[in-house]
């Protein structure tokens, strides 16, 4: 910085010039004025509400009555709440289906869509377009795809002589059906992220492996995947967090049914807050989810050293 603050007397010859950063009055005022809306917004709409949520989780607040402090009551109640337990199980079921499927299929699509090929834009668009369509339209369409008799899926199955299940009204098939829709809609995101990663890999590395006689599968496993590991790591974290918060599809397609088979954690939280009038309990559920996401993210972060490769 060539500009010297005018009030600062020049350092006497022979002494080191002061190195700590200096700010002009104008920079200070302008800097803070420019970021003021964001700072106010984050404090007012995120950080303060989180503190309120922590407090509310220790009360029996209904949303209407004034809250009464009940200590750990909400938290102690969870283990003996059969719905809490089953919604945790359902959410894990969804995650275990959704996370690997969306990443693996995303990887396959990214590999297919990588490289120069005529009409590639059309293919990429086809795989990606469900991602930008709103979840209600998606759910409505699939709701009718899954219809037992006049549905498209069972219609196609019947042409090859297979009697399809009653998808969304069958407790066994409802969750796989929801996972399938979610993967169909969400897979464009991992695909684009991995495609970005693939384009960053120097072609010389893959060519060198080819010359050394590595088979395509071997090249994928030993060259491409390690170089994609930062993207894969990013996706395992973001897809995990997203899968814990699935809501729209459940709300429109199954309403948590049949017989609670697709009642996931967020849907139960939503019901507690806005249908059952248990804001305090819902706040405690939100805290538990937050803690769980934090824990899972921390574990994934620790594990990354074993498999994520940065060049």
């Amino acid at each position: 910085m060539a500009v010297q603050a005018p009030w600062r007397t020049p350092a006497p010859p022979g002494t080191a010039a002061p190195t700590r950063p200096r700010w002009t009055r104008r920079q200070v005022v302008e800097g803070w004025v420019f970021i003021l809306p964001v700072v106010v917004g984050i404090l007012a709409f995120q950080l303060v509400p989180v503190l309120v949520s922590v407090y509310a989780s220790f009360t029996n607040w209904t949303g209407l009555s004034s809250p009464r402090f009940i200590g750990l009551g909400n938290y102690l109640r969870m283990p003996s709440d059969p719905l809490f337990v089953s919604t945790v199980v359902n959410t894990l079921y969804f995650s275990i289906g959704y996370i690997p499927l969306s990443i693996v299929i995303g990887l396959v699509l990214a590999l297919l869509c990588h490289g120069k090929l005529r009409g590639m834009r059309v293919f990429r668009t086809a795989f990606f377009v469900p991602y930008v369509v709103n979840i209600v339209a998606v759910s409505l369409v699939w709701f009718w795809f899954y219809a037992p008799t006049q549905g498209v899926i069972n219609g196609m199955l019947s042409t090859v002589g297979v009697q399809g299940p009653e998808w969304l009204t069958d407790p066994v098939w409802a969750m796989p059906a929801v996972i399938l829709v979610s993967v169909w809609q969400g897979v464009g995101y991992p695909m684009i992220v991995l495609l970005g990663g693939l384009q960053g890999i120097p072609t010389s590395l893959v060519e060198a492996a080819t010359i050394d006689g590595a088979s395509p599968l071997r090249r994928l496993w030993s060259v491409t995947l390690p170089l994609l590991s930062p993207q894969l790591f990013f996706l395992t974290i973001t897809q995990t967090i997203a899968s814990f918060q699935i809501f729209g599809i459940i709300f429109v397609m199954t309403e948590g049914g049949p017989a609670g088979a697709t009642t996931v954690y967020i849907y139960y939280l939503y019901q507690n807050a806005f249908a059952f009038g248990r804001m305090g309990y819902a706040s405690a559920l939100a805290m538990v989810l937050f803690a769980f996401i934090g824990l899972i993210t921390f574990i994934q972060w620790r594990l990354q050293r074993r498999w994520v490769f940065y060049d």
Binding site: W23, E30, G31, F34, I35, P37, V38, V40, G41, I42, F45, Q46, L47, P49, V50, V52, S53, A56, L109, L112, L117, V122, F123, T125, A126, V129, V132, V133, N134, V136, A137, L140, V141, W142, F143, W144, T149, V152, G155, S158, W184, Y189, V193, G196, P230, F234, F244, Q245, F251, V252, I266, F274, M279, S283, A286, M287, L289, F290, I293, T297
Partner: protein
């Protein structure tokens, strides 16, 4: 296997997959053009024999208010967020002031909070100040907490050469003028990416309107669609026409600005 057969095989696999991927959306559009009787045929036929454009006329009379609400909220969100995020992004990226790094750390930290944790207390706050059943909760909080947008714009502002700013300063521009006239035009691609992501978030939001609105005339297209599901349960053709109307603006935007959209997604969190 020769290179040519690999190529043909790859095309074949990709074509089949691409058809499977767009099938539900094609079915949505084809069903929207069927007669009511034709939607009930078992097994289902795919193409409407006699396209019923009147279905769209029928749906159109039902949705103007919802469409207006969706458009209004999308405009407020996009314009407001771009302004707030670019101001902050410029300050974080190019002005040196005390507390800047701390404030930026606070911003990044808030990105890891799952929405549901602050949604419930936000509901209480809005209940207190009388914002429930108004549109404010659907744009004010989003516009004032543009975490990813600020981050992306900051990265973009940092790449602009200092000489440009110095020259404008010598010409007597104020900092706001520099930001508005000199710097903003330089980061148009990042603005486009953030704007498109914001539009999508606002246009496709289901949870927000569901929680914060009660009156039907304030609802947005996604909630209206969910309401229609109960109303027109048997009139699948009308339901699908309404779904198509809610999807078309997004598809048009996506085709027009695909590059920025994908750029916005890939920049999101991956580049330091």
């Amino acid at each position: 296997m020769t290179a040519a057969t690999t190529r043909v095989l790859r095309y074949a696999v990709m074509t089949v997959l691409a058809l499977l991927f767009v099938l539900p959306l094609v079915w949505m559009i084809s069903t929207s053009l069927k007669t009511e009787a034709q939607t009930l045929v078992v097994p289902p036929t795919f193409w409407p024999t006699d396209p019923q454009w009147a279905n769209y006329v029928a749906v159109w009379s039902l949705i103007p208010q919802f469409l207006y609400n969706s458009v209004k909220l999308a405009v407020l969100n996009v314009v407001g967020l771009l302004f707030v995020a670019s101001l902050a992004g410029y300050a974080f990226g190019r002005i040196n002031f005390p507390g800047r790094d701390l404030a930026f750390a606070l911003l990044l930290a808030s990105a890891i909070l799952p929405g549901i944790v602050y949604l419930l207390p936000q509901y209480l706050l809005f209940l207190d100040i009388g914002w429930i059943d108004t549109h404010y909760p659907l744009w004010v909080p989003r516009v004032l907490t543009p975490v990813i947008g600020t981050f992306l714009l900051r990265q973009s502002f940092r790449t602009i050469p200092q000489e440009l700013e110095d020259a404008a300063r010598l010409d007597g521009c104020s900092t706001f003028q520099i930001y508005w006239r000199v710097m903003l035009p330089q980061v148009k691609p990042a603005l486009a990416a953030v704007g498109i992501l914001t539009f999508l978030e606002s246009w496709n939001d289901l949870f927000g309107p569901l929680i914060f609105l009660n009156s039907e005339h304030l609802q947005t297209l996604p909630v209206a669609l969910a309401l229609f599901q109960g109303e027109f349960f048997t009139q699948l053709n009308l339901l699908m026409a309404a779904a198509t109307v809610s999807v078309v603006p997004v598809l048009v935007l996506f085709f027009a600005a695909q590059r920025y959209f994908i750029q916005g997604i890939t920049m999101d969190g991956l580049k330091g």
